[in-house]
Amino acid sequence: MRLRGNGLVMALYLLFLLVPIYWLVNMSLKTNMEITSTFTYFPANLTFRNYEVILTDPSWYMGYVNSIIYVVMNTVISILVALPAAYAFSRYSFMGDKHLFFWLLTNRMSPPAVFALPFFQFYSSVGLFDTHIAVALAHCLFNVPLAVWILEGFMRGVPKEIDETAYIDGYSFPRFFLKIFMPLIASGIGVAAFFCFMFSWVELLLSRTLTSVNAKPIVATMTRTVSASGMDWGVLAAAGVLTIIPGALVIWFVRNYIAKGFALGRV
């Protein structure tokens, strides 16, 4: 009785997941005239004008550029500081290790809303308000713990004998780490980086609070358009589609690790 999946249930569920996305894509390919005046399931007059608007107007496409800058900064910082820490947690016991590990978890779990105001005041007072690095550092709040937990999960899978053999062979710690250990957990690093990228990319509250003009991310640009009168639905939909693309592109490569990443490396 190997229980086979019921195709119908899956088909219905996937339909439920995909219909709202289909509608967004559908809207992004219509003119505003068509969106507001008629109700069509497929664009009658296929147009790429909405995408053109975004890709030619700096106030739109700079949003993407800003987002990518701080997201990449954040991913690099998170992975660099998390690697040695995850190694320490997976290999050694030391004074206060359990408390420290728990404290990191609480940061992943804490609501950004609690931190929004102090971040705003703190970064304003040190002159970092409206810079990319401010958002990148703020996102470290949840991404560094995430990276540590995920990497620790992967590192525990590497047998300790490998470390010991390397030391006997005369490897120094940095050389061992870079030459032997990092290649062994390459997939773990990839997954951790993907999740840091993703969670920084999707976050709105902190990135909106900490920026005004120069580092304004695409997600904030979008919400400000929502509140304006005379909605440009087509452009809004196109902007939404463009934010989905980065995740959709790399999802295939991490598909077997998605559960592990979301569960902080613990599945």
């Binding site: 569920y13 040695p84 030391f94 929004a116 525990r156 993703m198 709105l204 509250l205 809004l236 989905i244």
Partner: protein, 290 residues
């Protein structure tokens, strides 16, 4: 795995400590500071004791937001957990279909939170959205911007759409670890579909399921962006959850003291749940003999 006792490992943890201290401890201390002080502006602060805490504990506004928050978390867990398990049981086990399902199901998880809000904002509108339009065609009076019930229903469906896959994916990972022999033994014993689920699959999923439930609880408890984009907390205050209310208070009105006291109580709840989560995790690791 046996770990070596080595206090020098602290040096490896130091970078994390510095970065997270910069982005967590300093801001949190600012919050603590505000919560016990009052100000007349101009950066003049004076000691206010626990007055803000007393005010917030007895504040109707906070009680209402907390009530809505708990109700919301309870409803979405009640829907997403059974549905997520059911979907996981029905997923193809291997081959290209399994991969395709994994990828398509992960898609909503990776969409920016505000775009999730935007998708449903457009999808639910009566004039231009497929959902709103279809409901209107059936003669159902549906308008999520005016009617609190409709707003709630839309937010709940949105959250189910967004996060059920997470529970499914975690349960699926748990199911994959069940050896084929278990099912064969069940077949020999002529076990019913229900007892296979109850006595083989559920115990094996227990650990991951607990993680999934806690993650969903935490994330739903601090939900901000999706309802903010979809309804902005309205109509009225009917969908103003804790985070939305806190941001309104802190950034909108600059009521620093009350907002800070609010934050700290909010944070303590999170701390408690995190501790449960951590205990579950470490027990699970021990059970697996790692």
């Amino acid at each position: 795995m046996d770990k070596t006792l080595n206090n020098k490992a602290w040096f490896l943890v130091l970078p994390v400590l510095v970065v997270v201290a910069f982005s967590a401890i300093i801001p949190l201390m600012t919050v603590v500071n505000y919560s016990v002080n009052d100000t007349f502006g101009d950066n003049q602060f004076f000691w206010n004791g626990l007055a803000w805490f007393e005010e917030m504990v007895s504040s109707d506004r906070l009680h209402a937001a907390l009530g809505r928050q708990v109700l919301f978390s309870a409803i979405i867990l009640a829907i997403e957990v059974p549905l997520g398990i059911y979907i996981a049981l029905n997923m193809p086990k291997k081959g290209v279909w399994a991969s395709l399902c994994l990828v398509l199901m992960s898609l909503p998880l990776l969409i920016p939170f505000n775009v999730v809000g935007t998708i449903w904002q457009i999808f639910g509108r009566v004039d231009i959205g497929l959902l709103g339009h279809t409901l209107a065609a059936f003669g159902i009076d549906y308008n999520y911007t005016n009617d609190p019930i409709d707003a709630w229903v839309t937010i709940i469906i949105m959250d189910v759409w967004h996060w059920t896959s997470l529970i499914s994916l975690l349960c699926y990972a748990g199911l994959q670890s069940i050896p084929q022999a278990y099912y064969q033994a069940a077949r020999v014993d002529q076990a019913s579909r229900w007892s296979v689920f109850r006595y083989i699959e559920l115990p094996k999923m227990q650990g991951v399921l607990l993680i999934a439930v806690l993650l969903r609880f935490m994330d739903s408890f601090m939900i901000y962006t999706e309802p903010f984009v979809l309804t902005g907390g309205g109509p009225g205050n009917s969908t103003t959850f804790l985070s939305i209310d806190l941001v309104k208070m802190a950034i909108g009105q600059f009521d620093l003291g009350p907002a800070a006291a609010f934050s700290i109580m909010y944070f303590l709840v999170i701390l408690l749940v995190s501790w449960v989560f951590y205990t579950v995790m470490t027990n699970l690791d021990k059970a697996e003999g790692r």
